[in-house]
């Protein structure tokens, strides 16, 4: 059974159709790269998966559980939406770290808030806090940020901030980690360190969806590539199929534009 199944997703902003009949599946432990030019609907798709946007039509199924069925008009409660969101982690293009917290606090905040909802929180407060801190430190070490734990976001480089953001997303142990152009806001020399981290996550079989403009990276890391254009999936397949053996004219045009630019 695939970990994620997206069925016939449509999203309109007013009269603009941003997503048109998007369907795909993702297997556990695989990395999916979504490529396509700006405005092709890639980011909107990720935002739908994270319930930051509500699709007009379609279904989102995780582990066989239908998290969203646009045809089911019964308004989902805030609590339900919050629970659904936890299946997904999200790493934003602009990091969106909380500026008033240190790197470590950024990673710990959400797990701590969640722990407070546990019935045994009051009795085991210290123990829970230590567990969460331990895990956060582990994650930041995994991101090679040992010496940066007590730094505030403004004291970190963009690449470091983005790695904190990845640790923060991982702290909640999402089923699927989504990256929305994680390196687009970074200087070229900082891109590498973030890509290295994502690559190591792929090596550890983290289930991921990566929206990216880094074609070489997508080709290298992804198990499956989706090419989107004009709100639809034009082509999908293995990196070899999409990058080397495509017969689709639109894919060819997009890829040649990219190789010219870079």
């Amino acid at each position: 059974m695939p970990i994620l199944e997206v069925q016939h997703l449509y999203k309109n902003f007013g009269s603009t159709k941003v997503l048109k009949d998007i369907s795909f599946t993702l297997e556990r432990g695989k990395a999916l790269a979504i490529i396509g030019s700006s405005g092709s609907g890639k980011t909107t798709l990720l935002r739908c998966l994270n319930f930051l946007e509500t699709p007009n039509e379609g279904k989102i199924i995780v582990n066989g559980e239908t998290l969203l069925d646009a045809a089911d008009h019964a308004a989902k409660s805030d609590a339900q939406i919050r629970k659904n969101r936890l299946h997904f982690g999200m790493v934003f293009q602009s990091f969106n770290l909380f500026p008033q917290y240190t790197a470590l606090e950024n990673v710990m905040l959400a797990p701590l808030l969640q722990a407070k909802e546990r019935p045994d929180y009051k009795q085991k407060k210290r123990e829970i806090h230590e567990q969460i801190e331990h895990r956060a430190i582990e994650l930041l070490e995994m991101m090679s940020l040992e010496g940066r734990m007590s730094h505030y976001p403004h004291q970190l480089s963009g690449g470091q901030q983005q790695r904190v953001a990845i640790a923060r997303a991982l702290a909640l142990k999402p089923d699927i980690l989504c990256f929305d152009e994680p390196t687009s806001a970074l200087d070229p020399e900082l891109t590498g360190e973030v890509l290295r981290v994502i690559r190591s996550l792929a090596d550890q079989h983290t289930t991921m969806i990566i929206v990216t403009h880094e074609m070489a990276f997508a080709r290298d890391v992804a198990d499956h590539v989706v090419f989107m254009d004009g709100g639809t999936i034009v082509e999908e397949g293995t990196p070899t199929e999409v990058f080397e053996n495509t017969h689709n004219e639109r894919t060819k045009a997009f890829l040649s534009r990219f190789s010219q630019n870079s």
Binding site: L52, R85, M90, S94, N96, P99, Q100, A110, H154, A169
Partner: protein, 212 residues
């Protein structure tokens, strides 16, 4: 004589400080409420708030004090105590200014902050208290400092309806025994007060300098 004047001015200054403090106690929460109203999704409410803020910010505070003191007396025959009328005018006036500062502070938070909180499974109130509130406070501190210092000086307008505050205490000596320096002397009290506030706000700004 000097000691006499000082004592008399200090008596008035107590009223000035009371006006200042009580205005803040009521105007700050009211301002926050008004700012929520001005950002409401309910169009008529938003429009109503806009009109009120426009009227309050668009007319002289001195006129508002006069209307609030004499208006109810003329229309309903209700006579508000002088101090209460002045306080009420200040609260309404400053709440409107504060509301615009709060609105700016709240709307200035990038939407990515809310979204980051949302995807981390936080509730709306957790996002407000744990993520955005401190950032809003940091943003509103400098303009608030300005308003606080304005308020120190605006309390002198209570004199219009004969509230016995420090300026009037000084003016009294002009009439009898006909000396003017006590009036000039009131400036020292205002300067001291606003000086303390300036230091206080400088300190708070510095305290919040640890994040950007």
């Amino acid at each position: 004589m000097f000691a006499n004047v000082t004592l008399s001015l200090m008596g008035g200054f107590v009223t000035t400080v009371q006006l200042f403090c009580l205005t803040l106690v009521f105007a700050l929460p009211l301002g926050l409420l008004i700012s929520f109203g001005s950002m409401s999704r309910i169009t008529p409410l938003r429009a109503l708030i806009k009109i009120i803020v426009w009227i309050v910010r668009g007319t002289p505070l001195m006129l508002q004090i006069i209307i609030i003191y004499y208006g109810p007396a003329l229309v309903w025959g209700i006579k508000l105590p002088r101090f209460s009328a002045a306080l009420l005018s200040f609260v309404i006036n400053y709440a409107c200014y504060f509301s615009e500062i709060f609105r700016g502070g709240i709307q200035g938070i990038p939407s990515g902050q809310y979204e980051a909180g949302q995807v981390l499974g936080m509730t709306k109130s957790q996002i407000f208290f744990k993520v955005t509130l401190l950032q809003v406070i940091k943003r509103v501190i400098p303009p608030m400092g300005n308003e606080f210092i304005n308020l120190v000086k605006d309390t002198a307008l209570a004199r219009t309806i004969a509230v016995y505050e420090v300026l009037w205490a000084g003016e009294k000596f002009v009439k009898n025994p006909g000396i003017i320096w006590p009036l000039f002397y009131t400036a020292v009290f205002y300067l001291l007060f606003s000086g303390i506030l300036t230091l206080l706000f400088g300190w708070i700004e510095k305290k919040m300098d640890y994040f950007k």
